[in-house]
């Protein structure tokens, strides 16, 4: 009789081996007719081609979308089945608002770290163009009541509940269900609270565009992006963006004279998808792939924005000290910071909070402020203000770009990722250059 197999967890490093995304497109533009499944499939295919792994069975593929049709219940698995990967590659969906893309990478990395899988891909997709439109809630209830009816009479009676107003469909809104405020309106409250100026926001936005344009120019994205539907660069990118031009825009969020947030210093609705390839060192060596970076640790925080205790997008501020404590690091120990630019003000509020003694003591319970960062290490190849922000695709964009930056910087370099998400959540991760 064979000895029973022992399944002892091994703990090892999970490597980022590369990434792929399609160029991000402003909604109702280049990808207006592409579905989440189309974009995710194309993105997986580009990832497979770049790494020469057609026909390969990966340990798993984790993906997701924030705006999702009900028919897309198995979105990532369907994308895998339509891709060049071995159809026996399992897949599942994750949904954590804008944190989706990073959370999938953390999940896959953790399984690799535990020795449960050798390889995996993680990412996400989102389309604000091909958005799900649902039938009117009144119509839905009436039809369900008719469906429950047992006799023709009961059915007819149920259908008499139909009203002309039921023709108006339910269109997804970028609103927090518990507050009724849009994300921009929430952010405007926080921006005002922290006194972030219009000038600072515009400067951050202009810098994001300049950094992204420069990165494209020097070929940084040659092995990170695959063209799609005729687009080979993010079409939100304005290479000639300046603070002067941005200063001319009217505020879009907030009220009155104090309103500082414009379409220029907020991310637009965007379509796109991204994926990263992860693996163990052994799997990478077997496939002659070079690890770019390793996952060190991650932390997700959530805040009570509903009762006004904290701003909607401030959760990363709370995740950081927990993450740093475990890693035995300070905020200043990093070579690169990737702070997702949901709005320019989000980045600036978060940075300001970490510098603020009262916030750090009162809210985070720290003896001393976390402190400032060297801004020249922030979003060095541009971020969401320039590239755009297809919700679930942003995490994969950042992980792949940062991993490449860290690999270029050298082994042992460190990078921090911070992504705020709807529902008052924030996902952070530390990567180390390989």
């Amino acid at each position: 009789m064979a000895a029973p197999r022992k399944s002892t967890p091994t703990v090892r490093r999970a490597a980022v081996l590369g990434g792929n995304r399609i160029p991000f497109a402003r909604s109702n533009g280049a990808y207006a007719k592409a579905s989440n499944q189309d974009m995710l499939t194309a993105t997986i295919d580009g990832l497979v081609a770049r790494h020469g792994i057609a026909g390969e069975r990966l340990g798993e593929v984790a993906g997701g979308a924030v705006l999702k049709h009900s028919r897309d219940f198995n979105l990532t698995r369907e994308a895998v089945l339509g891709s060049a990967l071995d159809p026996t590659t399992p897949a599942y969906d994750v949904q954590q608002a804008c944190g989706t893309g990073l959370e999938t990478a953390i999940l896959v990395a953790n399984k690799i770290t535990l020795g449960q899988i050798e390889s995996g891909a993680a990412g996400g997709t989102d389309t604000a163009s091909d958005a799900p439109i649902a039938v009117n809630e009144g119509l839905r209830e009436t039809l369900l009541a008719a469906n429950r009816a047992r006799t023709t009479g009961q059915r007819l009676k149920a259908l008499t509940g139909l009203r002309p107003g039921h023709l108006v469909p339910e269109i997804p809104k970028n609103l927090e269900p518990r507050t009724g405020l849009s994300m921009g309106e929430h952010m405007a409250l926080t921006t005002k609270e922290w006194g972030i100026t219009r000038e600072d926001q515009d400067e951050l936005a202009a810098l994001s565009h300049r950094h992204l344009a420069a990165a494209y120019e020097r070929g940084f994205f040659d092995d990170l992006v695959t063209s799609y539907l005729g687009l080979s660069r993010d079409n939100n990118l304005r290479a000639d963006s300046t603070t002067e031009k941005l200063a001319k825009l009217s505020p879009a969020f907030g009220k009155g004279d104090g309103a500082t947030m414009t379409a220029g210093n907020s991310t637009p609705l965007t379509d796109g998808a991204s994926m990263v390839l992860l693996g163990s060192d052994d799997w990478a060596a077997e496939h002659r792939l070079t690890p770019l970076a390793y996952f060190v640790d991650s932390e997700t925080a959530a805040v009570d924005y509903v009762h006004g205790a904290e701003g909607l997008l401030m959760a990363p501020a709370y995740a950081l000290p927990r993450l740093l404590a475990r890693a035995g690091m300070t905020l200043q120990d990093f070579d690169y910071y990737e702070i997702h630019e949901a709005f320019a003000a989000t980045v600036l509020c978060t940075l300001k909070a970490w510098e603020d003694p009262d916030f750090c003591k009162g809210r985070l319970g720290l003896d001393a402020p976390i402190g400032a960062i060297d801004r020249s290490k922030l979003n060095v190849n541009g971020s969401s203000l320039a590239a755009g922000h297809p919700f679930a695709a942003t995490g994969g964009r950042i992980v792949a770009s940062l991993a490449k930056q860290l690999h270029e910087k050298g082994a042992g370099s460190r990078g921090l990722i911070s992504i705020c998400a709807a529902g008052g959540q924030g996902v952070m991760a530390i990567l180390e250059g390989a």
Partner: protein, 451 residues
């Protein structure tokens, strides 16, 4: 790109119409199918003065399972004729060729093959009659190619001193369906470094275990090159500009290869290609310089930008990349470089002086590198194909009348397919073909242009 005319004249009704009206009837060409016989039906082999090379050819055909005959079968057909004139001393000896090949043409099967084997005229030294007769063979082959019908082709193999044992891959190529659209061409086979292989382990997968890079692989001829090299066993690296990435990924994935997005004009393009091939696939054996662009304008009307971009992409980039690729430790010893030139580079083309400059320049490059003692010592071959009218997305955009003209003005009365160009490149890339270097083979159905 459907050639409607060829389809029509090969239909039952179309055959009658074309026959009555004396319209040309382009034949459906025999193309290579993996695993199929080298050539169906018997091949007549003969030669002058005992045919010193005919013996080797008879042996290799026997090995390939081909029936070899030394005279025409009574009442039957032959699928090919191979005549060895390498021992011809004077033009009077050409009678051997006439007596053997002439009658055979009357019974040559559709998509039949005529191969004339001779010695290189360049090596006749001061023996004038010898130089004359050796050169005569080219005239004969070019004329026979024009005489042949039903998809049959005629080609010339010239053997340089010491190249006698290296002809197998070339004879096989010209007999097989791989050379479907190569007609009226001559190839020189020369000596190789001792120890180089001239026999493929598996003639159906002659590139097994090799790593090949194809530039401009996203579409058209480049995509076909990637497909054919992969079919022949190579691991392929598909290179194209980032803007072509979506199509490039499809080509790589269907062939189990990898993509490398770069602009071939980037200063580090060669280094990135070598690094990718060696890191991801362990080695680099074959490089196909296929990437190319056109910016057509009459020289009188063109500008510096149009001029420069074509010369940069099509020629300068190849010169620059070769510096890295051919440096020691990059392309493996015994490796192969193939450039994609063009008939425009040979014949010239109105409005394409920049394109012709670049494509003719590639021919100059190939001749120079083919003569390099260093590359010869390392067993590296450098050759070029020069496609004629090939049915692609690009030629599909040519106005109908011009397109029909382009298609018909060749001995096979039809355009070639991207796969025809790819097959010729794959043959250049075989190790068994190590004796062929510095050569330019036109894949043009013997176009009258630049003949």
């Amino acid at each position: 790109m459907t050639d409607t005319y060829t389809q029509f004249v090969n239909s039952a009704f179309g055959k009658q119409v074309a026959g009555r009206l004396g319209m040309p009837r382009p034949a459906a060409l025999r193309r290579y199918v993996p695993g199929a016989a080298l050539i169906d039906g018997p091949v007549l082999v003969g030669g002058h003065g005992g045919g010193p090379l005919a013996k080797r050819i008879t042996a290799l055909l026997g090995h390939a399972g081909v029936t070899v005959v030394d005279e025409l079968p009574a009442g039957g057909t032959v699928s090919g004729v191979v005549v060895d004139l390498s021992a011809a001393r004077t033009p009077a000896d050409l009678e051997t060729l006439r007596a053997l090949v002439g009658p055979a043409l009357k019974v040559l099967a559709p998509s039949g093959r005529v191969i004339v084997v001779g010695a290189s005229p360049d090596e006749a030294a001061d023996d004038v009659p010898l130089a004359a007769v050796r050169r005569s063979l080219e005239g004969i082959v070019r004329s026979v190619a024009k005489e042949l019908r039903k998809g049959a082709t005629a080609n010339l193999v010239l053997v340089r001193r010491g190249g006698e044992d290296n002809i197998d891959a070339t004879i096989r190529f010209f007999l097989s369906g791989r050379s479907a659209y190569v007609d009226g061409q001559g190839v020189e086979v020369g000596p190789i470094e001792a120890g180089a292989a001239v026999d493929a382990a598996d003639w159906d997968r002659p590139l097994a275990g090799k790593v090949a890079v194809v530039t401009g692989a996203a579409r058209g001829i480049g995509a076909s090159i990637a497909d054919v090299l992969a079919r022949d066993g190579a691991t392929i690296v598909c290179v194209d500009i980032p803007a072509a990435g979506e199509a490039l990924a499809k080509v790589a994935n269907r062939n189990g290869g990898s993509t490398l997005q770069l602009d071939v004009t980037a200063p580090d393009a060669g280094a990135r290609i070598v690094e990718h091939a060696r890191t991801r696939h362990g080695q680099l054996d074959i490089v196909v310089h296929n990437a190319g662009i056109t910016r057509d304008k009459l020289l009188a009307n063109t500008d510096a930008d149009r001029w420069k971009s074509v010369v940069d992409v099509n020629l300068m980039s190849v010169l620059r990349m070769n510096e890295t690729i051919l440096a020691p430790g990059a392309l493996a010893d015994g490796g192969h470089v193939v450039c994609v030139s063009s008939m425009s580079g040979i014949a010239g083309n109105r409005g394409q002086s920049n394109y012709a400059a670049s494509k003719a320049g590639l021919i100059g490059l190939v001749h120079a590198l083919g003569a390099s003692a260093d590359l010869h010592h390392r067993g590296i071959t450098v050759n070029a194909v020069a496609p004629g009218f090939i049915e692609t997305e690009m030629t599909g955009k040519i106005p109908l009348a011009t397109r029909e003209m382009g298609r018909r003005v060749n001995s096979l009365a039809q355009g070639g397919l991207p796969v025809d160009v790819a097959e010729t490149i794959a043959w250049f890339a075989q190790d068994a073909n190590a004796g062929v270097t510095g050569q330019v083979v036109r894949v043009c159905g013997q176009s009258i242009l630049g003949a």
